[in-house]
């Protein structure tokens, strides 16, 4: 059973022909060009995008619009990329967030 909603009773049919490949944690996957990384991964049945840096609990998308930063992944070496608002491109390598060590805490240590 596909997770994609190709036909919809009210919305237009989607174009599912522009298929490209990318990797997630070294596994080769397929997705639609320019859809969000989060959508492409979910369409492949992948919900866990990273684990919490300290406790190791699995995390996936929460807000899907860039507010919560739960979906952050590493794309071609760039860390902290939000999967919910980053368009999928041919051949990119996506991986679960690497450990940020102390940097995550420190970048906003002055906060509040």
């Amino acid at each position: 059973m596909t997770r994609r909603i190709i036909n919809h009773p009210v919305l237009d049919k989607i174009d599912e022909t522009n298929v490209i490949s990318f990797t997630f944690n070294n596994t080769e996957l397929r997705g639609l060009k320019n859809e969000s990384l989060a959508a492409a991964l979910l369409a492949n049945g992948i919900r866990t995008l990273r684990v919490h840096e300290e406790s190791g609990t699995p995390r996936g998308i929460y807000c899907n619009i860039g507010h919560c930063f739960e979906c952050r992944v590493t794309v071609d070496g760039q860390q902290g990329v939000r999967a919910c608002l980053t368009p999928l491109k041919e051949g990119i390598n996506v991986s679960s967030g690497e450990t940020f060590l102390t940097s995550v805490r420190d970048w906003r240590s002055e906060n509040e």
Binding site: H52, S55, Y62, C68, Q78, R105, N111, E112
Partner: protein, 88 residues
Amino acid sequence: MEKEMIICRCEEITYGKLVETANTYNCTSRELKLRTRAGMGYCGGRTCRNMVDSIAYSSSERISTEITLKYQPPIRPISFGDLGAVER
């Protein structure tokens, strides 16, 4: 169960910890954040801010004319590769 429930997802601060701190120090929302680190993680409190406020205001009064809302820039993390901006 409820005590271990997470409120701040970024820093994994629990409901139990927040309620206990709010009761012990009878603190304002801002003080509650500083004492527990709730809302001071990666997302900058966008997700849990209202919940932390609710817990704080259940033990102290909300000042509806707070006047200045405390938010610290940057409100979106900046990666090192992105620094050194120029006018386009």
